[in-house]
Amino acid sequence: MANVVGFFLAALMYGASTLAHVACWIGGSRRCARLSRPSLLAAVSLHGLAIVLRWVEAGYAPFSNAFESFSLYAWGLTVVYLLAGSLRRYAALGVFVTPLALLSILVASVLPTRIEPLVPVLQSHWLPIHVGISFTAYAFSTLAFVAAVAYLHQERALRQPARRSWARQLPSLEALDGLQRRMAVLGLVFMTGAIMSGSMWAEKAWGVVWVWEPQQTASLVTWFIHALYFYLRHSAHWRDRRGAWLLVGGFVSVLVTFVGADLLAPDSHHDFLF
């Protein structure tokens, strides 16, 4: 049970950090970092500890049910944000990242938290590898989405300069464009890894590499969207709003991969999530 207590303590810190980020954003102050960043670090550390405790208590990687998935998504997103966004100039993006992490935490917190015996299909050393790679991909794609949203916001504000806008706190278009590109490329790399590791596991578990079940299909779509982003960026020079919108689409596809596919097709192979 200690891991659940840890999770809820971390949830409180996520909430506090989100509040701090939003308050600083509205207050327009640059002294944000004093409260918002340390609270996020506290949240992610507590949360990491809770996940390790759960791993020890369960005896297997705690990436198997819906509670664990949403919890892991929030944790992965925050870790990647803190690492990738460690530079001061991206600090303002926390106002987009923290609510997303908090939302995922809130979803997790209403789901059953009990540790159940692992279903046979998941009893494999592929579990932590495949899930770890997949959630890293989700985190990078989400950050690419965050950068894209910030880019669109900044771009719009630049078209109406006299209107008072929060965009003035955001990084420059140039910085946001660079961040989109870097996050998307990492998302694409890890998504490739997720699909490959999933296929290898499928081959081992079911004897087939590919079965066109909803989640596999959705992950392939996500992969294609990110690949398309790079193709259009380089050949058609979509280094503008169009590229950013494509990354927004990529995030929607991640959501479908992550949650939607299971909700739409509950009898798929990934249905152990729900």
């Binding site: 327009g28 002294r31 630049l158 300069p161 008072r164 420059s172 278009l173 709003r241």
Partner: protein, 438 residues
């Protein structure tokens, strides 16, 4: 003694009058020494003094005698340091005393009284004025506390409110917009179209902000070459304009041409050949040099002079909305200061001293009575009267002497010492270390 502020600024006096009283920096040390000699010997016009001299104002802050004598002395002082007859500036002078003077100094430090609302330079000038006065022994306990109060108010106003946020001049707005598009300007190329006065200002502004390189295109090659030489840029012939568009990240156009120079199709082609790299165009020419339709191209950010002016207006309006918040900070700081300042008065100090001693007397009297026990009433009276007389005799000299000094130039030192030695209440204004320019 009271705090008195006398002076004039851009709101009260036209420039012809301001320049009469203008005080060059080199003459400030002398002027400070004339204002207030450090020793309390009655030389000088004031007991403590600070001079605040900027291009828009000359203000004297001084500790002088109450009433018209003090004001008169300061008017005489202004006459002496300016060498101008009093009648020429007198109608424009503003005089404030006590709390009003304190509030005024805080408003000045916060930029509320500046020509450009909320500008930051004045904060440094207030700090400098105080330090000059310190260095020349002109200021003392009271005015130094007042200036620290104002400097702290200025700092708080700028960090806690948006009174100094966002650019309020066209050139700074352009730089702020550039900062929303590009991360830094050191690797960017700026293209100036036209080589007139406006282009020169723009070039200076860009170079000041560390632009990577500068291209100048002009109808007359000679002027382009001159401007390029002045700012370390490269002059190009008019026929190279379209090619320069491929290199540039920032374009500033300011020609006197009667028709558009950059048409949509030209810029559209350039953007395609630039592989959609963003282009930031500022059109400060009237009539405009750039077709408005250019602004509709993806990744082109076009602003004309009206756009920039609108941003200036919006930012100024935002600063205006912050005034009540700044005034609240000033009110808090000034009331803190005034609470301390009032303790420097002689009368409340005597009252505090008497109250404290009387409390001790009563406590000790009661104790003695308890221990003596069974005294008759006349005996009790003797003891009580003894205690009262003792206290009165001891307090008599300090009270009389303090009252004698009430209007003397060194009363504050005695009051401070008395409060310190007897442990009387002394609300100190919060005085942290001040840093120049901070």
């Amino acid at each position: 003694m009271q705090i008195t502020q006398i002076g004039l600024d851009h709101k009260t006096a036209p420039v012809q009058v301001r320049e009469l009283l203008a005080l060059p920096a080199a003459r400030i040390p002398d002027a400070l020494e004339t204002l207030s000699a450090s020793e309390c010997a009655g030389s000088g016009y004031a007991q403590e003094g600070v001079l605040l001299s900027t291009c828009n104002r000359l203000e004297v802050y001084a500790l002088v005698e109450d009433g018209p004598e003090g004001d008169g002395a300061l008017r005489e002082y202004l006459e002496r340091i300016s060498g101008v007859s009093r009648s020429q500036f007198d109608p424009h002078l503003q005089v404030r005393h006590g709390q009003a003077a304190a509030v005024h100094l805080c408003e000045v430090a916060c930029g509320l009284d500046s020509m450009v609302l909320g500008e930051s330079q004045i904060q440094g000038q207030v700090i400098e004025a105080h330090q000059m006065a310190l260095a020349h022994g002109a200021t003392g306990t009271v005015l130094s506390a007042l200036f620290r109060t104002a400097i702290q108010a200025g700092k708080r106003a700028r960090t806690e409110t948006a009174i100094s946020q966002h650019a309020v001049s066209v050139s700074h707005v352009a730089v702020e917009l550039a900062g929303q598009i590009y991360d830094n300007l050191t690797d960017k190329v700026a293209l100036l179209i036209g080589a007139g006065e406006m282009a020169e200002l723009a070039a200076k502004n860009l170079v000041d902000h560390g632009i990577g390189s500068l291209l100048v295109v002009n109808r007359s090659a000679g002027r382009a070459a001159g401007l390029a030489r002045q700012f370390g840029g490269e002059a190009l012939g008019w026929d190279r304009l379209n090619r320069a568009l491929l290199q540039a990240d920032i374009v500033i156009s300011s020609t006197a041409a009667p028709h558009a120079i950059l048409r949509r199709d030209v810029v559209e082609t350039a953007i395609q050949m630039r592989r959609n790299r963003p282009l930031f165009i500022i059109d400060i020419a009237v009539p405009r040099d750039v077709e408005p339709a250019v602004g509709g191209i993806s990744n082109v950010f076009l602003y004309d002079i009206d756009d920039l002016q609108q941003v200036v207006d919006a930012n100024l309006a935002q600063r205006q909305r912050e005034i009540p918040r700044v005034k609240a900070i000033i009110k808090a700081k000034v009331s803190e200061f005034m609470a301390w300042y009032r303790t420097l008065d002689v009368v409340p100090t005597i009252v505090d001293l008497r109250r404290q001693v009387e409390r001790i007397r009563e406590m000790e009297l009661e104790r003695a009575m308890r221990r003596l026990g069974g005294l008759s009433d006349p005996e009790r009276d003797v003891v009580r009267i003894f205690s009262q007389r003792l206290v009165n005799k001891i307090l008599h000299q300090p009270t009389v002497r303090l009252k004698e000094r009430a209007n003397g130039c060194d009363s504050y030192y005695y009051v401070e010492a008395l409060r310190e030695l007897f442990g009387l209440p002394r609300p100190k204004p919060e005085m942290d270390q001040e840093r120049p320019g901070g």
